[in-house]
């Protein structure tokens, strides 16, 4: 009896444990808070005017302004700041250098003086800054001028026609200001004297360098080496950026009177069930912050550093100082940046327009890669599509329900025991045939390849990696680091080494990756890296990488290198002819050059749908435009309404993929009854109709760095009502999308930016901007508007996938502004190769004014029939031109004359969207049938 009772008790106990695990979500205590992170705690406790550095030996050298930062000798000879080891008077100086680059970019580096032989060279992140930037964008400084102030002198250098950079020597400060006039400041560094630089040194007697967190010990063989400083954004109403956090677009203050919050943390982590509102660091880190305000416009600050970073946004009154009261009445936002290691390699971007700042940032870290057309369509994923039959069925169901999709994804279970590049042959006996079958209908497949390699001597990847010493080493420096991930005991490829990256890239050759075909692309997950038994579910900071780099120094860039190597692999396998598609979860500056990202393991909740929008917008303004969130939410089961709403919002976001955890119920679009199938089909189809527009915007992002999905303030920088709005967003400059984020919503309020007219895309109804507009909503769709003055290209025919849309005709939607004009573009290429880089593309600008639409060629290469360029031609015609806002004129046009063919096309009333059940009547030019690649003019009669 007793035994039985005990047994029963254990059963009950086990059950309650499992229950406990299933309901608990984010495990806060398993991650370090700032207080548990010594460098952060130290930095956060510093008060203004902590720094006593002065700049000396200011000079111009190699086109840079350089200086030594030294601690002045105390007058009485006493060490008055013994608490701070870095400002010891005997300590060697720091070396400062300022460089100026074209387009309004100031770069500031601060590092230890190599002539003083520090114990170790501090880590500078290679492979992020474009070589072209450093070589050809640099402006060689010739001279500086000086400003003599009271007790301190300032050294001024040219930055751009409107701005100059200033170094004040005592106290040391660097800032950017407008030239001439009032010389209003834009950005400043160390204005509050919070700069601190822990120089590498020898361990002192009895000093403890080890750090412990929970059961983990960090040996910290090099001791404290953190850096922190304050940066002020002048004329700013809000600051944005520094992804990845699940939080609002405009960053809330984390410190100041009445504010209790952790700083924004930048430390790539695999976070189980993250919260929808938290400054906690997620999978990626981009230490790039933008500010925007009505006074200055936009500016930006970027710190290239791959160690753990913590950033405080200070609330007004944080230093209760009246020092600035007499200086500027303008708004200012102060921030404090803290990093565990590395050097100061910081960039100041002067803006002043929002798009200027993103362009300036893109000129440093690169623009986003031009995606293949298929990647802009809809992706269907699940952990896991079990076997070949499952794949076949899901694919067939899409066709059965006439729902377009482009890519089917396979998660970790497709492999042989989580050995990447292999197949579970019981489930996938014929992977090539499976891919070929999908490809016969124009569809691609994506398989997962993660950086943790199963330690199994029979596994070829492990065998080669261990034999060649390609793994990251543990703290000893000579043993492979052995962690735990999906396959169990695993080691991690050391992608920092270019040789290892090259080896890895070769693994994607069709002969190496057995079972892969040209229609197979790759997904990099868990590349933070995720280590189940490591501190904070990642790699120990004292693990050693190639070149004796400590993991702490490059942690945030680990996933970036892995993504890079994989992308190179896909490029290599087709001899550089096929644009890679690699989805990554970990993020770092430069990621945009290698592929796509998503926001990780979100949850099927309304607030997570809500936060996905600011998360994606934030990624967009910090360079990574091709991003998305798992549609429906990864964890949990979305109710049908949430799922439908999620499809409706996500259809307008750059990366559009449905994904789900294996514990969840199946949720493919046809599983919720005919009505809901129709709603989801409609949402996906709307995305496909706008693909010509999206693709054009991806090209814009590829050329300029301006993101596809944009915060409203990026398009309307002078409309203050938009600065804080992250419920609505712009797709390009033409579409405004308002999400619906609550259950049973009957109406939503849309804040349409002022000075424009907005056309409801369902009804064609015009709304004046500048006020909150209440819109009734049904379950059929979310409010979407086209801005007056824009022309948007669409393809209004439905197909199975992007491949079958290639020859379909276009629809142009013209929304005229108050002066009767509108403009828009379309970009077309072969959708897959790099021929576009040689001129093999069509780029047209459509200009409508005075009742006349003209198509202008923007492809300089093709117009100047240069011999080296290739050309791209399309047979596609324009089957329909819709005119919005034109009916207001007293006499609507009846027909249109097409030049040069001199044909006449009819104008009649037609629908704005070809969707049954949607009634609208707008002026439509019927079958103009001009070629999209030709020059032509269409005149309304």
């Amino acid at each position: 009896m007793k035994l039985k009772l005990k047994l029963k008790l254990i059963v009950v106990l086990l059950f309650s444990i499992s229950h406990l695990i299933s309901v608990s979500s984010w495990k806060k205590e398993e991650f370090r808070s700032c207080n548990e992170t010594p460098f952060c705690k130290r930095a956060r406790s510093r008060t203004p005017h902590h720094s006593n550095l002065i700049a000396s030996d200011v000079t111009i050298r190699d086109g840079d302004l350089t200086a030594k930062l030294i601690t002045p000798t105390p007058i009485d000879g006493n060490h008055n700041s013994s608490s701070n080891s870095s400002s010891d008077s005997s300590s060697p100086p720091l070396i400062l250098s300022l460089s100026v680059y074209q387009g309004g970019i100031l770069r500031m580096k601060i590092d230890e003086d190599p002539s003083h032989n520090p114990p170790k060279k501090r880590f500078q992140v290679p492979d992020v800054i474009l070589p072209d930037f450093e070589i050809s964008k640099k402006i060689w400084l010739q001279r500086y001028s000086t400003d003599a102030g009271s007790g301190s002198s300032s050294f001024v250098v040219y930055l751009s026609d409107g701005y100059e950079a200033v170094v004040s020597n005592d106290p040391f400060e660097v800032f950017v200001r407008e030239r001439g006039g009032g010389g209003r400041r834009v950005l400043s560094f160390n204005s509050h004297g919070l700069f601190d630089f822990e120089k590498l040194r020898k361990k002192e007697e009895g000093e403890e360098w080890e750090e412990r967190f929970r059961s983990h010990t960090d040996s910290r063989p090099f001791g404290p080496q953190s850096i922190s400083f304050d940066v002020s954004f002048h004329g700013a109403d809000f600051v944005y950026g520094i992804p990845e956090h699940a939080t609002s677009l405009a960053l809330k203050p984390t410190k100041g009177p009445g504010i209790e919050s952790e700083p924004y943390r930048l430390f790539n982590l695999d976070v189980f069930e993250y919260l929808a509102e938290s400054p906690f660091g997620l999978y990626g880190s981009i230490p790039f912050m933008l500010s925007h305000g009505s006074a200055h416009g936009t500016s930006g600050f970027f710190w290239l550093n791959a160690a753990e970073m913590q950033i405080d946004v200070l609330g007004s009154g944080w230093d209760d100082a009246g020092e600035d009261a007499n200086q500027e009445k303008r708004k200012r936002i102060d921030t404090v940046w803290m990093s565990e290691a590395g050097i100061v390699d910081a960039f100041f971007f002067i803006g002043p327009e929002p798009k200027d700042v993103v362009k300036q940032y893109a000129s440093v870290t690169g623009t986003s890669a031009m995606p293949q057309l298929f990647a802009t369509g809809y992706h269907q994923c699940r952990w896991n599509y079990r076997d070949e039959e499952d794949v076949k069925n899901v694919d067939a169901k899409f066709d059965q329900h006439d729902i377009p999709y482009d890519v089917l994804w396979l998660d970790i279970e497709h492999t042989d025991g989580k050995r990447y590049f292999t197949w579970d042959r019981a489930l996938f006996p014929n992977p090539e045939e499976m891919q070929k079958d999908l490809a016969s209908r124009g569809r691609r497949m994506v398989t997962i390849v993660d950086p943790h390699i199963k330690r199994d001597d029979k596994y070829h990847i492990h065998k080669e990696a261990s034999e060649n010493g390609y793994y990251v080493k543990d703290a000893s420096g000579d043993k492979d680091y052995d962690g735990w991930c999906w396959p169990g005991s695993s080691s991690y490829i050391d992608m920092v080494n270019p040789e290892i990256r090259s080896w890895w890239a070769d693994k994607f050759a069709y002969t190496e990756y057995v079972g892969s075909t040209p229609s197979l692309y790759i997904w990099n997950d868990m590349n933070e890296p995720s280590v189940f038994n490591g501190p904070e579910v990642t790699m120990p900071r004292d693990a050693i990488h190639y070149g004796n780099i400590e993991h702490r120094e490059l942690h945030n860039a680990y996933g970036y290198y892995f993504h890079m190597a994989t992308s190179e692999g896909l490029l290599k396998r087709e001899g550089g002819k096929d644009r890679p598609f690699v989805l990554s979860r970990a993020i770092f500056p430069g990621t945009q050059r290698y592929g796509t990202v998503w926001t990780g393991d979100n949850t099927a909740e309304w607030e997570q749908l809500r936060v996905s929008v600011p998360m994606i917008l934030t990624l967009g303004i910090t360079g990574i435009t091709f991003s998305g969130a798992d549609v429906g939410g990864f964890f949990g089961n979305p109710d049908t309404e949430l799922l439908v709403r999620w499809y409706q919002v996500a259809a307008y976001l750059p990366f559009f993929r449905g994904h789900a955890h294996h514990d969840t119920k199946r949720r493919e679009p046809w599983l919720f009854g005919e009505h809901n199938t129709e709603l989801m089909r409609d949402a996906i189809r709307v995305r496909y109709t706008f693909l010509p527009y999206f693709y054009t915007l991806f090209r814009e992002a590829n050329v300029t760095g301006v993101p596809v999905a944009r915060p409203l303030w990026m398009e309307f920088p002078h409309d203050e009502a938009t600065f804080n709005n992250d419920e609505a967003f712009m797709v390009g400059n033409g579409l405004l999308v308002q999400g619906v984020y609550t259950q049973h919503a009957k109406e939503v309020t849309v804040c349409l930016p002022r000075d424009h007219t907005w056309y409801d895309l369902k009804t064609g109804t015009a709304y004046k901007g500048g006020r909150a507009q209440k819109m009734e909503v049904t379950d059929a769709d979310i409010p979407v508007f086209q801005r007056s003055g824009t022309i948007i290209p669409r393809k209004d025919r439905f197909r199975r996938s992007t491949v079958q849309m290639e020859n379909d005709p276009y629809t142009l939607v013209i929304a005229v502004d108050s002066s009767g004009g509108a403009e828009g573009e379309v970009y077309i290429d072969d959708g897959k190769s790099y021929e576009f880089q040689k001129g093999g593309y069509i780029h047209r600008r459509f200009i409508f004014s005075d009742g006349k639409l003209i198509s202008v060629n923007l492809n300089v290469a093709s117009s100047s029939s240069s011999s080296q360029g290739t050309s791209f031609y399309s047979d596609c015609t324009i089957e329909r031109i819709i005119l919005l806002g034109y009916s207001s004129s007293s006499k609507p046009p009846k027909s249109a004359r097409i030049e040069p063919t001199n044909r006449v096309a009819d104008i009649e009333l037609g629908p704005l969207q070809i969707r049954s059940g949607v009634r609208s009547a707008v002026l439509t030019i019927r079958k103009p049938n001009v070629r999209v690649s030709d020059d032509w003019t269409i005149k309304l009669l």
Partner: protein
């Protein structure tokens, strides 16, 4: 109207010859993509010049028909092009069966119609494969018809058989009910008789005590005192024995359940206990200790209940990895281990899994299950048939029960008469009012009472089983009657799936059994068997399985699948689904296929 005339004019100039020709006769090109039953609708274009879109939204002209521009949102004007999203295209597929496809398939570079008529744009060439495909389809259809024909015959026989079996079961049930009534009376009689005897004995004892007391007082003799003592000892034997039995019954049925089946089992258990005790307890102990042992790696988990923070820190590196990883996989760490290292299938894990999966059963009655539950019986059979990919067998719980209880089945009904007779004799011979009570006769009554009430329990259990069986829905024609008491197996990879209609469905892997569902009901008008409320899924729903029934000559489970986590699906072929009406349908289908012109080369 102005617009239309101008279109007409333009078109006339450009292609007057075409128009002239089509004015005179409607060629099949004009009606590209129109299904034959719709042709009438479109003929209005030739008679009246313009017709309405089917949704009534607007008028369109003949020139707008298939002009590659969508005028009707419902696609009426574009049956042959991809211009309208909701359009449908009809391909004749001569030689095979006609097909209606979405307009999104037209000229998309993929051959959807076997006659290739959907790819007329010239960019893609499609071979006409209708004849070959049609032949395959026809052959398949013919096979299917043959199968159904044979199946229908078997089905008829089965229905006949089912009727007989059902009638037999019902007859037996009513007979058993009568017997139960009588037996209950007998038991009652015996009980009363026994109690009277007991009373008499007690009375006698008190009387004797009195007498002895008197004697003691009177004689005060040591010898007599001793004698009296002895007598009391003997007399006390009867009630003591009785108490023993009752205690045993109570002991094995501590929950005090009134379920007659349970009672019967308990009683039997007591009867066999001395024999089996030793054997039974050992494996039980082992299991318990293994269970405890098996959960040792969960120590960290155990701590978690008290303090989730400290819990995982106390784990070894490997267990920590497993534990953290299990958050995503939703598996217990031990199971994760199992999954992670597929080569290493340690016994410990499977035992643990087994116990966990079984925690839905009442632990208290485990021993009984081991001996008497059909579950156990089934397990034995299954072990022998492990290698067979699909198999079936009977488990007939009723017969098992009867055999185990050593009770003759209805084929030899004499046992009941015998009982009646014996009891009558006993009751006649034993007279409770007679004093002094005849000790041996009293014992006889006691024995008969015990036996009769045991038999009553068995009878009750048999009745309840039969009632339960007959309460089931065996289909409108009782066509599923024979499936009762049968199990069907299918082996897939490492799992054996077992479907026992009207009972349960399980998934077995080595020693561990996972219950996929208990029988719930038929669904979709007897096309699907639903088993629900199976073992709970970690972080998910209770397991369930839908078994789709298909016409087949043999009863076979196949295509076991888990389309959604912990929601299983399978098919079961059975003659019960070979419906006669379906044959006509299939024959009509075949006839249509044959009616198609064999070659049709219009395009």
């Amino acid at each position: 109207m102005k617009i239309y005339t101008s279109i007409f004019f333009t078109f006339f100039v450009l292609s007057s010859t075409l128009i002239l020709r089509s004015k005179t006769a409607i060629s099949s090109n004009d009606l590209l993509g129109v299904a034959p039953q719709d042709e009438k609708y479109y003929k209005g274009l030739w008679s009246s010049g313009a017709i309405k879109c089917k949704d009534g939204s607007k008028l369109f002209t003949k020139l707008q028909l298939n002009d590659d521009f969508c005028d009707c949102l419902d696609g009426t004007d574009e049956p042959g092009t991809s211009a309208c999203p909701t359009g449908k295209f009809y391909c004749k597929n001569a030689g095979h069966s006609p097909l209606t496809i979405f307009s999104s398939r037209i000229n998309d570079g993929i051959c959807d119609c076997c006659d290739g008529s959907d790819e007329y744009g010239g960019k893609t060439r499609c071979n006409n494969t209708c004849w070959e495909a049609g032949k395959v389809a026809r052959d398949k259809l013919m096979e299917k018809i043959a199968l159904f024909q044979e199946g229908v015959t078997i089905r008829k026989q089965e229905i006949e058989q089912a009727k007989i079996s059902a009638a037999k079961d019902e007859a037996e049930l009513s007979k058993l009910k009568i017997e139960e009534k009588i037996l209950r009376g007998i038991v009652q009689q015996l009980k009363e008789h026994k109690e009277q005897i007991e009373k008499a004995v007690e009375k006698e004892r008190i009387q004797k005590e009195k007498e002895e007391k008197q004697n003691k007082e009177a004689e005060q003799s040591e010898l007599k005192e001793h004698e009296g003592q002895e007598k009391i000892d003997v007399e006390e034997q009867v009630p003591v024995k009785n108490n023993d039995d009752r205690a045993a019954i109570l002991d094995t049925n501590p929950s005090g359940k009134e379920d007659p089946v349970e009672r019967a089992v308990d009683v039997v258990h007591t009867a066999h206990a001395p024999l089996d005790n030793g054997e039974k307890h050992d494996p039980k102990d082992e299991e318990v200790s293994e269970f405890v042992h098996g959960s040792e790696p969960n120590n960290g988990l155990g701590n978690k209940v008290e303090d989730a923070t400290k819990g995982i820190d106390s784990l070894s590196r490997e267990d920590l990895g497993r534990e953290i990883g299990s958050r995503w996989t939703g598996k217990k760490t031990d199971q994760q281990n199992y999954d992670v290292d597929d080569a290493k299938k340690d016994y410990e894990t499977s035992v643990d899994v087994h116990d966990e999966e079984n925690n839905g059963y009442d632990t208290e009655t485990d021993e009984d299950h081991h001996l008497y539950d059909d579950n156990c019986k089934v397990d034995d059979v299954e072990d022998e048939n492990n290698d067979v990919s699909s198999s079936s067998y009977n488990y007939d719980p009723d017969d098992d029960d009867m055999n185990i209880l050593d009770m003759e089945t209805e084929s030899s009904p004499s046992w009941f008469e015998r009982v009646q007779r014996t009891v009558r004799n006993v009751l006649q011979t034993v007279n409770p009012f007679q004093t002094p009570v005849n000790i041996s006769e009293a014992e006889n009554v006691q024995k008969e009472y015990n036996e009769a009430s045991m038999k009553l329990s068995k009878l009750k259990s048999r009745i309840s089983r039969l009632t339960k069986k007959l309460e089931n829905d065996f289909g409108p024609e009782k066509e599923f009657y024979s499936l009762y008491g049968q199990c069907f197996e299918s082996k897939q990879n490492k799992y054996v799936y077992k479907v026992c209609p009207f009972k349960q469905a399980t998934q077995e892997e080595g020693y561990s059994t996972t219950r996929l569902g208990k029988w719930e009901k038929f669904e979709e008008s007897y096309n699907v068997m639903l088993f629900s409320n199976g073992d709970n899924c970690w972080n998910g729903p209770d397991r369930s399985i839908k078994v789709r029934l298909r016409c087949g000559l043999k009863l076979e489970v196949a295509d076991v699948d888990e389309p959604s986590r912990c929601e299983y699906a399978a098919t079961l072929t059975t003659p019960a689904l070979c419906l006669e009406g379906k044959i006509k349908e299939l024959e009509d289908e075949l006839e249509i296929l044959y009616k198609q012109p064999q070659f049709h080369d219009e395009l």
